[in-house]
């Protein structure tokens, strides 16, 4: 904006700085609260006035990863003394760690859900970005009859509410046994992200000067060779950005996961709310699960900050 000149302008600017800082604090407060609750002892999670300064604890994470069971009476001193440090943390909360018949400590459902989220999000991202890149190139470089209509069609598939699509997909998956499988969810997320990746990649492809390939074609490259050796490297940044966006969408998806998976392929978003607790609420465990789950996305957001606008707006707006 215009250079700050007058003193009125200057004081206005100071006001704006203060305003932005306040807004940023308000917007980050809930995220900070999640992160801090993840390290609180349970009795400090719901205090009034809220606890801000406390001795951080690792116990929410121990509880997050283990299967626990409520104790009616405190463990005997011998039991307590014999237990490893992490099991004592569970004892302190009035619970004990559940062991299998062979004495192995049982995991909670969280690690397998986290793994499922990784499997589904990564695979569907690779498929959606792969197919999207090819298709975007096709739309960007070749003449296609009814191009606008086709692009509209591709876009419109993304606009369907998940619950609307989920009803028939549920019935179809039932017929072929894809309910509660990784592939079932991967296919859905790929379809969901494909339209997005086509639109975004088309924008990136349009920006690559076609003279590059033309020169290569004249040099005797085939179109395929030109695509792989000239276009793809040029589009690498765009591909990476698109991939991260697809990943985040798949990673965060809730409705399909809620409906189409139960156990084997269930991802973290429908699972984390189920950690509310079995007899008493334990917000620290939910916070710990949420915190771990949000970390990858927070990191990606920082990596991606220069592409955010484009990704969020389907490539409709360029920065």
């Amino acid at each position: 904006m215009a250079a700050v000149t007058t003193s009125a302008e200057r004081s206005l600017n100071k006001l704006a700085i203060v305003g932005v800082l306040i807004v940023t604090i308000i917007f980050l407060a809930p995220i900070y609260w999640i992160a801090s609750t993840a390290f609180k002892p349970r009795n400090l999670a719901t205090t009034i006035p809220p606890t801000v300064v406390f001795q951080p604890e690792i116990s929410p994470f121990v509880k997050l990863f283990t299967k626990r069971s409520q104790l009616r009476t405190a463990p005997t001193p011998e039991q307590y003394a014999a237990a490893p440090w992490w099991e004592r943390l569970v004892f302190d909360g009035g619970e004990k760690v559940v062991r299998s018949g062979r004495g192995e400590v049982q995991w909670s459902g969280y690690p397998s859900r986290f793994m499922n989220s990784l499997i589904v999000a990564i695979t569907s991202t690779i498929l959606a970005v792969g197919m999207g890149t090819f298709t975007a190139y096709g739309f960007s470089r070749f003449k296609i009859k009814g191009e606008q209509d086709l692009l509209f069609f591709i876009l419109s598939t993304r606009m369907l509410p998940p619950v609307v699509v989920a009803i028939p997909m549920f019935l179809m998956y039932r017929a072929v046994g894809l309910n509660d499988t990784h592939w079932g969810l991967i296919i859905l997320y790929t379809a969901f992200n494909l339209s997005f990746s086509v639109w975004l990649m088309k924008g990136f492809m349009d920006e690559i000067p076609k003279e590059y390939e033309e020169a290569a074609l004249v040099d005797g490259y085939t179109r395929m060779e030109a695509f792989f050796k000239i276009v793809l490297p040029e589009a690498a940044t765009g591909i990476a950005a698109t991939a991260v966006f697809c990943f985040i969408t798949a990673w965060n998806e809730y409705a399909f996961a809620l409906i189409m998976t139960n156990r084997r392929a269930q991802t973290a978003p429908p699972f984390i709310p189920s950690q509310v607790g079995s007899g008493l609420s334990d917000w620290t465990v939910i916070a710990a699960g949420t915190f771990l789950f949000l970390l990858p996305v927070a990191i990606f957001t920082f990596l991606l900050r220069n592409h955010l606008l484009r990704g969020m707006s389907f490539g409709a707006i360029r920065k």
Partner: protein, 301 residues
């Protein structure tokens, strides 16, 4: 543009003779995607169109019987369904208006000489990148009348955000505004930075008031891009499911997606839910159409 590429490639040229023809490559690149989307998006919809005329229940072994338009007729005459639509509309309006005010306001602030602007902008974007379901769950604790930090910070005592039927929808909308204002902010920033500086300089020379400058210069020039943000958010808000589903179970927050989910996967009225899905679908298509028209308009600029 595309024609230009085509014509430079003489079909008899050396490169075209080797390898696949452009036509093959084009088809190879585009058709699988189109087919994939048809199979996994359009075909299921046709499949459910058929069921929408039956009394099929996925929970029973009984075969489906054709009932004609009965499902549609009964749904359109069901006052509960209409109230679900009314709730959805109210939710869309409240949350989108809120996002535009907050988002555009913050963009105006950020569009000045702010130190660490890049970092602050990125931090502000964080909420919308997070999972609605997971973060939304945590807002339950923030809203809690006995232990929540919101009431404590604002000194609201034991104000009931989610338990008060009249307040619950606003509480859900506030969470949505928190998540998605950054989106409007981001688009507005792009629009604001595109306003040519000489217009402001000219206005300053004319001694135009800041009020005048805002309404006559800033707003009209940012309007198209703001419109995109509004349409985007309207569509997303219309589809909303996770947030309202996780935060409350008030009838006053039962948006249409939640009703649809309950009908399909709790009551197992599969045929009827297919019909309701179609009613929702038609509305979505109408909004999408408006959206694409605007999108094309803006792109032409």
């Amino acid at each position: 543009m595309a024609t230009a590429v085509m014509t430079t490639l003489d079909p008899k040229s050396r490169s075209a003779a080797r390898g696949m023809s452009d036509l093959t490559i084009r088809n190879l690149f585009i058709i699988p995607t189109i087919v994939f989307l048809i199979v996994f998006n359009i075909f299921p919809l046709l499949y459910s169109l058929g069921y929408s005329f039956t009394d099929f229940r996925a929970s029973s072994a009984a075969p489906a019987t054709f009932v004609g338009l009965q499902n549609y007729r009964e749904l359109l005459n069901d006052p509960f369904i209409w109230s679900n639509f009314a709730i959805t509309a109210k939710y869309v309006i409240v949350s989108v208006v809120g996002q535009v005010i907050v988002g555009f306001g913050v963009a105006l602030l950020l569009n000045r000489d702010i130190p660490l602007k890049g970092l602050l902008t990125t931090l502000l974007l964080l909420p919308m990148m997070l999972s609605m379901a997971v973060v939304g769950l945590f807002w339950k604790l923030l809203y809690d009348p006995s232990f929540g930090i919101i009431n404590y910070t604002l000194g609201l005592g034991s104000f009931e955000w989610l338990s008060n039927p009249d307040m619950a929808l606003y509480a859900v909308a506030i969470t949505d505004i928190w998540m998605w204002s950054p989106f409007v902010m981001l688009l507005s920033l792009a629009g604001l930075s595109a306003v040519p500086k000489h217009l402001y300089e000219a206005a300053a020379i004319d001694r135009a008031g800041s009020f005048y400058t805002f309404f006559r210069i800033t707003l009209p020039l940012v309007a198209p891009i703001l419109m995109i943000a509004i349409i985007f958010r309207t569509m997303e808000a219309f589809k909303t499911f996770d947030l309202a589903y996780i935060l409350t179970s008030q009838p006053t927050t039962e948006v249409i997606s939640i009703r649809l989910y309950k009908m399909a996967f709790q009551e197992w009225q599969t045929g009827r839910s297919c019909a309701l899905a179609y009613i929702v679908l038609i509305m979505i298509l109408a909004i999408t159409n408006i959206y694409v028209k605007y999108l094309n308009k803006v792109k032409e600029r």
